[in-house]
């Protein structure tokens, strides 16, 4: 059922989320893309030195993201910077949001709008267990050409993060 619903999503006319008005450079259609059978769930646990940044996720292929969670293991992290990017048709990466642990979450328009299901969330700061992510409230996020995630440690000491991503690769 989920696949059928997602298939309908891919056939729907889509507005370019970057410009907000123009059509996508390549429309996903039944002849172009169909859901891959493989559901990939990857989990990374990585330390980040002070003043350094990592790119734990970099996928230059058409995918749909069903879930993405970033959290720390009981460590107070107040100076991390998270930047998700979507790859455009010309191969460049467009940062579509940013998340500063100390300054709260910020998501660029139109990704903050409901129709792209790119919703940031954050909770449990009281017990110093921090978690933010991109939640698929209604449907997965379609990345026609790829997706990348960068996490920077702006703190003065080493920090560690865990990233979990669930996605399906679109077959061409």
């Amino acid at each position: 059922m989920a696949d059928i619903m997602l298939g309908q999503l891919l056939h729907r006319p889509t507005i370019d989320p970057i410009s907000g008005s123009s059509p996508l450079p390549v429309q996903l259609s039944g002849s172009y893309a169909k859901l891959g059978a493989e559901h990939i769930e990857a989990r990374f646990n990585q330390s980040i030195a002070a003043g350094a940044g990592i790119t734990p996720v970099s996928i230059a292929k058409p995918i749909v993201i069903q879930g993405l969670i970033i959290y720390t293991n009981g460590t107070l992290v107040d100076k991390m910077f998270v930047a998700p990017s979507i790859r455009k048709a010309n191969g460049t990466w467009q940062v579509v949001g940013s998340y500063g642990w100390s300054s709260g979450l910020r998501l660029d328009v139109p990704y903050s709008m409901g129709h792209h299901w790119f919703e940031a969330y954050k909770w449990d700061t009281s017990s110093k267990n921090y978690m933010i992510g991109l939640r698929s409230a209604a449907a997965p996020l379609v990345c026609s050409f790829g997706f990348r995630l960068e996490i920077s440690n702006l703190d003065t000491v080493e920090r560690s993060v865990t990233v979990q991503i669930n996605y399906r690769q679109l077959e061409v």
Binding site: A50, G51, I54, T55, S98, T156, E158, R159
Partner: protein, 83 residues
């Protein structure tokens, strides 16, 4: 330090987004994933002069609170720094 970094590492122009806006970053390593770092922050943390050895850099942060010792060891293995 900045000149030393730029001569030994790949540079990502505008690759660092910090509190003060964008600045250049350098590629620290690629395993297990791409790791970059702020040139300005590294220079501020480890000194403005080019390092003579990994030991000199480690001495700045002997308890490795900043988490750079592993990277310094990798640079030694790569021949970028003497031990």
């Amino acid at each position: 330090m900045e000149e030393w970094i730029r001569s030994y590492f790949d540079i990502v122009a505008g690759g660092w987004q910090g509190d003060d806006g964008q600045s250049d970053a350098f590629v620290v390593g690629t395993q297990p994933c791409l790791t970059t770092a702020s040139i300005a922050a590294f220079s501020a943390n480890f000194g403005e002069t080019a390092p003579a050895s990994a030991a000199q850099l480690k001495a700045v942060d002997p308890d490795d609170a900043m988490g750079w010792h592993t990277h310094f060891d990798e640079w030694v293995a790569q021949g970028i720094l003497p031990e």
